[in-house]
């Protein structure tokens, strides 16, 4: 390597209680490099970066930037040292203008004797936005007027305008549409051109290979290897991440297997103001019905409508036996399960044990004449969690301690335990690593052969093509296209109906 070394991490270590999140990781990154950082959920890649950025305190070891040891106690220290991060979650503050968000913590240039010059701040911020090509975003407007994606772009401006030496991008692309991603890649390239460095964390391996120079792999908190992106394939990366060969059977491989004519669920003329506009479809026994579209197309509301969770719904959702589903308890007692896209808020109770999360929908089934036995509940939860191979100490552990993939396993465990026949899975593999993803696909294929009906709502087109028997593409709250499973079907076919 002829490039100058920028960052050296030596023996970085971090424990959370008994979990060894980062175990003696040492690596070096050059100036002018885009470094991918990959690993499964819980491999320690986010924790590693969050120590670098001052979000977590460093458990052990040192970071050296330009040969000098860093003493980072908080994010401000990190910023001053020239390290910035764009996080997975919402990183902007509501109730402030776009400009105020961009200059948060760096208002001094606009202060005159303790009074803020908002006009100067807006003017500067607008110049910045224009220079990034985001001129449609107005600096003086309240940030709440912009959607999640625009707010993410504003965050990118905020993190990069000061030209940090190291820019950490932690799982940001999952929140972005194709356009937003392209903007982000452009910025990454610009940082590299400038002789500065990007650390890019993503679960999307094809994206990692396409946009990085080198990739470092972590597994179970340990450093495994660093490879040149141009020299390896996705399968090589998967192997490094998992530590064993991942079979080629990622999605199901069967085509042309007939789906039963038996209708399990019929949805007629369902309208939710602002979300859905007269949707009708049927779900068959043993069918995986995929829903795709752009993120605002209303497909996520379909899941809620079927589950009886929409606030203001018209039209009918009816089971084969004529039961109408209008509220959640009816849906659950009539064998409908729902895994939300918003996993942490709607699918599981974070501040609760694995046990209580798993038993909650089944509580009436587990009661004996209304009486609950603690031992019976624990046994039930334990069995279901183990069936899903959830990584845990025991079922008393709180869900908030688990990684994304394991949380999703808990969600699936509770519905499999309930024995639901219709599963509505919204973005079932969102933010989940390869190994768990593969397990979820295998499970879906198995449930399908057991005659369960699955509604799979997904923003990932390959997943729809790979798993669904039938795909409905939505646009502006309406169904805009229907495709039957076929190996000849391509991403372009689906995209054409989305936009």
């Amino acid at each position: 390597m002829d490039k100058k070394t920028l960052l050296v991490a030596e023996h970085i270590d971090k424990r959370f209680g008994i979990t060894h999140a980062v175990n003696d990781v040492s690596l070096t990154i050059a100036a002018g490099e885009i470094r991918g950082l990959i690993g499964e959920n819980g491999s320690g890649k986010s924790t590693f970066c969050q120590m670098l950025c001052g979000i977590y305190t460093i458990g052990g070891g040192t970071f050296k930037l330009d040969g000098k040891e860093l003493h980072i106690r908080n994010q401000v220290d990190a910023n001053n040292a020239g390290i910035a991060i764009i996080v997975q979650e919402m990183g902007t503050l509501s109730g402030l203008t776009v400009a105020e968000n961009i200059y948060l913590g760096h208002e001094e240039p606009f202060m005159h004797m303790g009074v803020k010059d908002s006009r100067a701040m807006n003017r500067e911020a607008q110049k910045l936005l224009d220079s990034y090509g985001f001129g449609r975003i107005k600096a003086g407007v309240m940030i709440d007027h912009y959607n999640f994606e625009d707010r993410k772009l504003i965050e990118i401006v905020k993190a990069t305008y000061m030209k940090p030496k190291i820019l950490v991008i932690d799982e940001t692309t999952t929140a972005l549409s194709q356009n937003g991603r392209l903007e982000l890649y452009k910025i990454m390239d610009a940082v590299r051109e400038d002789g500065r460095t990007v650390i890019f964390i993503s679960h999307d391996l094809s994206e990692v290979l396409a946009h990085t120079d080198t990739v470092s792999v972590l597994r179970d908190g340990e450093y495994i290897d660093t490879v040149e992106s141009s020299q390896v394939t996705e399968d090589d990366l998967k192997r490094l991440m998992v530590g064993r060969e991942i079979g080629s059977a990622y999605y199901r491989t069967d085509y042309g297997t007939p789906v039963s004519d038996e209708v399990m669920l019929s949805v007629q003329q369902v309208t939710v103001p602002g979300e859905l506009d007269g949707i009708s479809f049927e779900l068959h026994k043993g069918e995986i019905l995929g829903f795709g579209g752009l993120s605002e197309c209303g497909m996520h509301e379909v899941g809620k409508a079927v589950f009886g969770a929409s606030w203001d719904r018209e039209g009918t959702v009816k089971l084969a036996d004529g039961t109408e589903i209008n509220d959640i308890p009816t849906a659950i007692s009539h064998s409908i399960a729902y895994a939300s896209k918003d996993r942490d808020n709607e699918s599981i109770i974070l501040n609760e044990s694995i046990r209580n999360n798993i038993v909650l929908p089944s509580i009436d089934d587990l009661a004996n004449h209304g009486l609950l036995s603690g031992r019976k509940l624990t046994r039930f939860a334990d069995e279901q969690a183990k069936n899903m191979q959830t990584k845990m100490q025991n079922v008393g552990q709180f869900v908030s301690d688990l990684s994304g993939g394991n949380k999703q396993k808990v969600v699936l465990a509770r519905w499999l335990g309930k024995g639901s026949d219709i599963l509505v899975l919204d973005s079932p593999t969102r933010g989940i690593d390869v190994k768990v993803k593969q397990a979820i696909y295998a499970l879906m294929a198995e449930l399908r052969t057991r005659g369960k009906g699955i509604i799979m709502i997904s923003e990932e087109i390959p997943e729809l093509l790979g798993m669904a028997d039938r795909i409905l593409i939505m646009k502006d709250g309406k169904i805009n296209g229907e495709f039957i499973r076929d190996p000849a079907l391509s991403e372009e076919d689906l995209i054409a109906k989305m936009v």
Binding site: A309, E352, N356, F398
Partner: protein
């Protein structure tokens, strides 16, 4: 190597001191400390049989009320109406006690339940935070209470005063605790209440009828306060405008002293009720044996309360009280 062992030991100790298990033990440790301190400061006067009997006579009706509020606080909600509810229900009990004792008990319970229903209705139907609703209704029912007691105190019948016997009050208190424990531990109610407290949205998506659970908790807590009013009337005999004054803060302090997380949810324990009310009673009678002015007593209780909340609160689960 040795150095490493030492540092892991230290970090283990730190993990224990900041961990959940230690936090769960804090109320018991605090209880022992408060008893010891009071024992030493009063030269052992607090643990004499006579004082103990007096101490226990003070905790019957607060325990009954606290049991109801326990469910509300497990939900992550809060209730400031106990004092005024007790006052109004006590007036009803006293007035009805001239006709029939069972009718008086029933009247007290129904009055309390009605006030609870009103709180629950506004909290659930209009989605108002419970502390706003109950602060408003506290004002309202304090007013009602004052209206009936401005001229003279409301007297109760001699028949009801004759019931002022320890065994009766102990039986009622223990029965309430037993039934509540059963509901909390062995039925869906306890599960649902905890689930709503830990994460209301996810609980709703798991099939919990969250609105109904919240409404019922307020009705139940009101009904228990109504029952407590009966125990109060047989003790005091006549109701003045100050009946139940500041009961709500007493209950809140008791439950938090007992280790109930102010955010509710998964980490509540039924024993919080018992440990808390006992601790409050010991603190209370210790301070009066020591001869402090009531104003100074209040000040000390406030300080103890603050320290306890600061030590025990679960910052991870912290959000606005519903």
């Amino acid at each position: 190597m040795e150095k490493k062992n030492k540092s892991t030991e230290q970090s283990r100790l730190r993990a224990f001191l900041t961990g959940d298990r230690f936090k769960a033990l804090l109320p018991l440790i605090g209880f022992v400390i408060i008893i010891l301190v009071m024992h030493i400061m009063t030269n052992g006067k607090i643990l004499t049989p006579k004082k103990l009997r007096l101490l226990f006579s003070q905790i019957y009706y607060p325990t009954i009320v606290a049991t109801g509020v326990f469910f509300i606080m497990t939900l992550g909600s809060i209730d400031f109406t106990e004092g005024s509810t007790l006052g109004v229900a006590s007036i009803v009990v006293s007035a009805l006690s001239f006709y029939s004792i069972p009718l008086a008990i029933l009247g007290g319970i129904l009055t309390g339940a009605a006030i609870g229903a009103l709180n629950g209705f506004f909290h659930v139907k209009f989605r108002l935070p419970s502390f706003i609703v109950t602060i408003c209704t506290m004002y309202l029912f304090r007013g009602v209470c004052a209206y009936f007691t401005t001229e003279t105190a409301v007297p109760a019948s001699n028949a009801i005063k004759a019931l002022d016997q320890d065994w009766l009050k102990i039986t009622i208190t223990l029965a309430v605790l037993a039934v509540a424990f059963f509901l909390f531990k062995f039925t869906r109610i306890g599960n649902d209440v905890k689930a709503v407290g830990s994460g209301e949205t996810a609980a709703r998506f798991s099939g919990v009828r969250t609105g109904r659970v919240k409404f019922l908790a307020f009705v139940g807590a009101g009904a228990l306060t109504g029952l407590a009013a009966f125990v109060n009337v047989i003790k005091v005999g006549s109701i003045t405008s100050t009946a139940g004054n500041q009961l709500e803060t007493q209950i809140l302090i008791s439950l938090v002293l007992g280790g109930l997380p102010i955010t509710g949810g998964a980490k509540v324990r039924f024993t919080n009720i018992i440990v808390g009310t006992l601790m409050y009673a010991v603190l209370n009678s210790g301070l009066s044996i020591l001869g402090y002015e009531p104003q100074v007593q209040q000040l000390i209780k406030g300080v103890v309360f603050l320290i306890f909340v600061a030590l025990t609160i679960d910052r991870k689960a912290l959000k606005v009280i519903k």
